[in-house]
Amino acid sequence: MKYEAVIGLEVHAQIHTRSKMFCPCPVVEDTGDLPPNTYVCPVCAGMPGTLPVINRRAIEMAIKTGLALHCEIPPVSCFARKSYFYPDLPKGYQISQYELPLCVNGYLDIETEEGTKRIRITRAHMEEDAGKLYHMGDGSSRVDLNRAGVPLLEIVSEPDMRSVAEVIAYATRLHSYLVYLGVNSGDMEKGVMRFEANVSVRPAGSDALNPRHEIKNLNSFRALARSVAYEIESQIATLEQGGVIVQQTMGWDESRGITVPQRGKEYAHDYRYFPDPDLPPLEISRAWVEELRAGLPELPDARRARFIRDYGLSAYDAGLLVAERAVADYYESTLSQLASAAEPKAVANWITGEVFRLMNENGCTITGAPPPSQLAELIDLVQDGTINLNTGKRVLEEMFTTGRSARQIVEERGLAQISDTAALERIVAQVLNGHPTEVTQYLSGKVQLFGWLMGQVMRATQGKANPQLVKELLQAQLEARRSG
């Protein structure tokens, strides 16, 4: 039998506010070396008698995210207490939302092999993060509350995804949206985005919803992709062997590459949600929503369309450039600093080709690449013929490693290309004289040797020769020898 996967995703994204969700403590990204419990006050430590106060900025950022995801923003939103005991949860309950979340009924379009696909978003609600527990290895554990009370947005999709590729397309696009909106730094290593995947399988074509496995606490795209792939395979295998899938919470074992059931009883929580009596229902006026909508930045889809329209880029190239806001900004900044008439398409090729390759090799992001002004200068040098394309690529490599400008490198290393016809004529003649056999073969019809001969000339000039000129001179001298 053929099976298909049914996958829904819950994304927990930090909302990048200056202060925490319900108290004035600063939000500080976890760099790993922050002293524990330094950004804590009586409120986020859950001290007796303290009360939460809603961070208006966090609500605004959440609403903006909802609007970008085409959600409805109901006029009243409500906070609820979600009760469970854990040492990293200071109050013994988490302030979250249950009934009346901030955002409902949205969607996000993703690109798949079959074209654009719409993934519905059930809801997006606000909650506070818990602290962090450190297990010391001697049996003791310690609690760090720096993160406790940091605002989180939980974005819940419908089970609309059918493959790992769709899951990753959705997750990366959502990531890109959050970064574009400035609500999240996108820095996955710092745990600013965490995923939970709900995976079930069914016979292809069926519309049944089978018991699912809920994979908790996935901190990277890689873990998300691997764990979902594993779940799909193992569930299909179970069904094929006549087994049954029971609804279950799973953990992802990164080192073994498998999902493992989390102990059932402990996770069979009754969270006993009820409206938090400390926080009156939040009234969200239409005027406020419209004000936030008006302040939305250009989002990836709109930017992509503009790149195709205004810069004549292919859909594919435009997609590559807009996936990350910083890359798209880098591209447009480079364009604006060009002195020559280089084509926007050519600039796009530089970035999606050489710059991306070198970012990969150097293990850096776009912020580690030479600044747009320097890339523009390099492209200008190629455009005006000072250096040829291949030299340009070598210069860019050096720019990455040394941080020096294109012009400096070209001048110091004498890389400006040879466009002196007399000098090149001599070199071409020398090459032809040095390879009589190949010349004879060429003249007797083995025309593909032209490229080889061209290569010999370029080599003799250490690649600095203007290739167009070399081509012309080589053709002329070869033809002269044919008639001679």
Binding site: P48, G49, F85, G92, L279
Partner: protein, 491 residues
């Protein structure tokens, strides 16, 4: 006259006229505490050094022309209200060693107004109780009869006011915890409208019902204290941003044109009602009529549901509010082999029987499958109770009702029967469910010489009319001037 027996407004005049100093007054009250508190046991914590230091500062401030409303007035704070640097136990083992690093907003207001904090008064654990017997530390005695309870849960504050161990005190009222002990101890107990006084720093019992209130020797003092602690607080999202009226100005004006409602449901519960209480409150209604008030018989038809509704909502909220006492960050920790055992041992030893009973009731009432039947249903009935009062206050300015069905009962009498204990709050719960305001004032004594209290109730933010009626009654009667015979408890 002894300085400790002064009211706040009397002491204020003497201080302003420089006839007494804050230091003299504070020393007199501290000496009084030493004399009587061995018998009364109103205080859990005393802070005499800090109090004397504050008194000296108050005198210095007055020399510089400062005239803050409570400058040099010694007051007591119920131990569910946080005081920076002073232990705040909520009457529970689980917070026995807890010292908050912050003041409750109400305490900060008192300090800013120049009040002197004498110490922290006894309370039922987490304000859960009607007799102060649920304190983890000891029971407080009623100054009118040491064998009887002072009421609760603000029994320590009420007894301290009655026995002249402070000039006034803060309490908290979730279902009558200010008004019922005021009634039992023959003092004035004011429960403000929900949202009138910040709850920041009040250790939460039931967040949608809790409100800080005041215990005072007379209505004027209650108005003075309310004036200082009332107001919007950005740190409490349930406090209401309305201007604070001049409560002293509201006292005078008489009762002409005032309509007083008498709800039949509060006089028709013979099986729990002490006849002398009914008679005293009915006589008081007569006094109000004589003073010019129009009396109207009214009905609050959902009154009988207040008790069951309260005992669903309050424990439900309490079970979440008390979840933070897990031994991880502060308070008692009883270490065991693993996390779950440590939780169990800490909470098992830290909470007393009433705390545990309410945590269990609340957890049950709003677990999966019961939420709709209990919690949600209770919220709906709560809305009906609120609607009863809305309708009534469409007709009347204030409502008169007994504060408690009986006078103070004997220590130990109801400990074994929680339901009997819960019934002693039967007349005070509705106002918390409705979020309205009310004051309990003395209106007579029973055959044992125990004080009887009656409530003057007003709509939300109707403190002015409540105080005006209570003041008019007080001026026409002398109940508030009677003091317990301290020969029985003075050293």
């Amino acid at each position: 006259m002894e300085l400790y027996s002064l009211t706040i407004h009397e002491a204020r005049s003497l201080l302003a006229e420089r006839k007494i100093s804050a230091l003299e007054l504070t020393e007199a009250v501290l000496e009084r505490i030493l004399e009587v508190d061995n018998a009364i046991r109103a205080y859990l914590t005393l802070t005499p050094e800090e109090a004397l230091e504050q008194a000296r500062l108050a005198d210095a401030r007055r020399t510089q022309g400062d005239d803050a409303p409570l400058l040099g007035i010694p007051v007591a704070i119920k131990d569910v209200i946080c005081t920076a640097g002073i232990p705040t136990t909520a009457g529970s083992r689980i917070l026995e060693n807890f010292i908050p690093p912050y003041d409750a907003t109400a305490v900060a207001h008192l300090k800013a107004a120049g009040a002197i904090i004498l110490g922290k008064t006894n309370t039922d654990e987490f304000a859960m109780g009607s007799s102060t017997e649920n304190s983890a530390f000891f029971a407080t005695r009623n100054p009118w009869d040491l064998e009887r309870v002072p009421g609760g849960s603000s029994g320590g504050s009420a007894a301290a006011v009655a026995a002249d161990e402070c000039l006034g005190a803060l309490g908290s009222d979730t279902g009558g915890s200010v008004r019922q002990p005021a009634s039992f101890c023959g003092v004035v107990g004011l429960k403000p409208t929900y949202g009138r006084v910040s709850r920041y720093g009040l250790i939460a019992f039931a967040s949608s019902l809790d409100q800080i209130g005041v215990l005072a020797k007379d209505v004027t003092d209650a108005a003075i204290l309310l004036q200082v602690i009332a107001g919007y607080d950005p740190r409490d999202s349930t406090s209401v941003n309305l201007p604070v009226p001049d409560y002293m100005a509201a006292l005078t004006g008489g009762l002409h044109g005032v309509t007083v409602g008498v709800p039949k449901e509060y006089f028709a519960a013979p099986e729990v009602m002490q006849p002398e209480v009914t008679a005293a409150v009915q006589a008081a209604v007569g006094v109000l009529a004589d003073l010019g008030a129009r009396i109207l018989d009214i009905s609050l038809p959902h009154t009988e549901y207040a008790l069951p509704v309260y005992y669903l909502i309050a424990p439900a909220e309490a079970s979440a509010n008390l979840a933070r006492y897990d031994g991880v960050r502060y308070g008692l920790r009883v270490e065991r082999g693993d996390l779950i055992e440590t939780y169990n041992a800490t909470r098992g030893q830290g909470f007393g029987p009433e705390g545990k009973r309410r945590i269990m009731l609340g957890t049950y009432a709003w677990s999966a499958g019961y939420y709709d039947a209990y919690y949600l249903k209770a919220q709906k009935v709560r809305t009906l109770i609120r609607a009863d009062f809305d309708a009534a206050f469409g007709q009347v300015d204030v409502i008169i009702a007994p504060t408690a069905p009986t006078t103070a009962f004997r220590i130990g009498e109801k400990v074994a029967d929680p339901l009997q204990m819960y019934l002693s709050d039967i007349f005070t719960l509705s106002m918390n469910l409705a979020g309205i305001c009310g004051v309990s004032i003395p209106c007579g004594f029973d055959h044992d010489g125990l004080p009887i209290g009656m409530q003057v109730l007003g709509p939300a933010f109707g403190e002015e009319q409540v105080l005006r009626v209570a003041y008019a009654y007080e001026q026409a009667t002398e109940w508030h001037l009677r003091k317990p015979d301290d020969g029985r408890f003075r050293k």
